[in-house]
């Protein structure tokens, strides 16, 4: 209920702002909605949304997989942590734009370069979060698994992974929003389609309506992923906590 009210307030503020600034600077919700509808009817909207979404998912999956693996190793092996830590610091502080530009220069304006650049941007935060989780693993359960000679994969799946889950969820949360913002930059600079590309064109035409139409459509997609995929998954994985003792 409060969420709806908050959302209503957002639209009201938007409308007020639009009437004050004028349709040129800030088109109102109705104008943006009809722009979205128009793009949707011609099918272009879905083409671009799809292209962006595919890049987001690919880069996200890549960064999470590699990040989880490296984070686990760094969290559990002190030597690996000391070895990897300076690299991590460099990566963490490297501006996204630099990575993207370099990737395009070295790899050409290709899909692979684009996705690699996004993944590299997301990678260090994923590593840091998972490393925290790996450091917090319960040594008692670890010993239990060793004494009872649990096979490696089963230990990972049932002992390690559930403990890492909150950290993975946190990494995924921040990751998803970070990744899609960088994907837009990548598309703006060197891809022939996607939301970022469309926004680039709209920028050249000073077409604020179109900028808002694409930005909001994709925000809606991310919100949908969050509500219908991430949250239910989280609830499922933490149901053992919810039941009272």
């Amino acid at each position: 209920m409060l969420r709806l009210l908050s959302l209503a307030l957002f639209f009201a503020t938007w409308m007020l702002g639009a009437s004050l600034a004028g349709e040129q600077m800030l088109p109102g919700p109705v104008a943006v909605a009809s722009a979205i509808l128009g793009e949707a009817r011609s099918g272009v909207l879905f083409l671009h949304l799809g292209a962006t979404l595919a890049r987001v998912l690919l880069a996200f999956a890549l960064a999470m997989t590699i990040g989880t693996a490296l984070g686990l190793v760094m969290g559990r092996v002190p030597a690996a942590d000391r070895l990897g830590d300076p690299w991590l610091l460099i990566l963490l502080n490297l501006p996204a734009l630099v990575v993207v530009v370099l990737a395009y220069i070295w790899g050409g304006l290709t899909e692979a370069a684009a996705i690699a650049a996004v993944a590299v941007n997301k990678l260090p935060t994923a590593i840091v979060t998972v490393r925290e989780g790996a450091r917090a693993l319960d040594p008692g359960l670890d010993e239990m698994a060793r004494v009872f000679a649990m096979p490696r994969w089963r230990t990972f799946r049932h002992v390690v992974l559930p403990q890492l889950f909150p950290y993975l969820a946190a990494a995924a949360r921040t990751g998803l929003s970070l990744v899609w913002k960088i994907v837009l930059v990548v598309e703006l600079l060197g891809r022939p389609n996607g939301v970022g590309f469309e926004i680039g064109i709209a920028f050249q035409l000073f077409d604020v309506t179109r900028i808002l139409a694409y930005a909001l459509s994709f925000t809606a997609v991310v919100l949908a992923i969050e509500t219908f995929l991430v949250q239910p998954l989280e609830r499922r994985a933490s149901r053992w906590r919810l039941r009272p003792a």
């Binding site: 008692g140 359960l141 010993e143 004494v147 009872f148 000679a149 649990m150 002992v159 053992w240 039941r243």
Partner: protein
């Protein structure tokens, strides 16, 4: 049949030796209980026996096959049900045996619960069930009944005695409770304070099931004469 023989154990931490010259052998199916003051290194010794600690001088010969261990804390997986906690550790356990085990330990109604929903006493029973479910050749128990109230500890102790009698398994029990040791063991080892070594070895001939409270009291008195500090 010689089951566990540890020639020389000296696990040196920063402060010097924790264990010194501990050597013992348990026959197949024998229950050995180690009694000693808290902090004397009992847990360290068990960790060496269980193969969790490999940084020591000496050798441990374990019987081939599975080890079942009950830690001081239950160490269950909180995100898996009681049933899953046991099946994950013992995937080949057959349903009838598992059901019997749950019955013996009074866990039959808790199979679908998560460990967080159980009292400490129940959680300890699950840990016990888990150790038995793997059909171990060596059972290692680290103060399995501490921080339980007395009647419950006594009940669990009797349940454990029943399980060990039903399916003989070489067992190593560590406790600071002489009662518990006298009730369960075939062979008692009295440990000194740190660095721990064996002060006395007391075989108990009378079968577990036949031991009454009077026998246990007599045993305790006999032991107390040998080691006035413990008790």
């Amino acid at each position: 049949m010689r089951i566990a023989r540890k020639a020389f154990v000296s696990s040196s931490g920063e402060g010097g030796d924790v264990l010194r010259d501990i050597a013992f052998t348990l026959a197949h199916g024998e229950v050995g209980a180690f009694v000693g003051p808290s902090g004397c290194g009992k847990t360290t010794m068990l960790r060496i026996v269980a193969g969790l600690d490999t940084e020591f001088d000496g050798a441990v010969a374990r019987p081939p096959g599975a080890i079942g261990m009950v830690f001081q804390e239950p160490r269950l997986l909180p995100w898996r049900t009681v049933d899953d906690n046991i099946r994950l550790i013992a995937p080949h356990v057959d349903e009838a045996k598992l059901a019997a085990l749950f019955d013996t330990l009074g866990l039959a109604t808790h199979r679908a619960h998560f460990p967080g929903e159980l009292s400490l006493g129940l959680a300890r029973r699950v840990a016990l069930a888990r150790a038995f479910a793997v059909e171990p050749r060596l059972l290692v128990l680290d103060e399995p009944f501490t921080s339980l109230d007395q009647p419950l500890a006594v009940r669990l102790r009797d349940e454990l005695a029943m399980l060990v009698d039903r399916r003989p398994v070489t067992t190593l029990l560590v406790t600071h409770d002489l009662d518990e040791a006298a009730r369960l063991a075939d062979r008692l080892f009295l440990l000194s304070a740190r660095p721990a070594h064996i002060l006395a070895e007391v075989p108990i001939q009378q079968p577990r099931a036949a031991r009454g409270p009077a026998d246990i009291a007599a045993l305790k008195a006999a032991i107390a004469r040998q080691q006035p500090t413990s008790g």
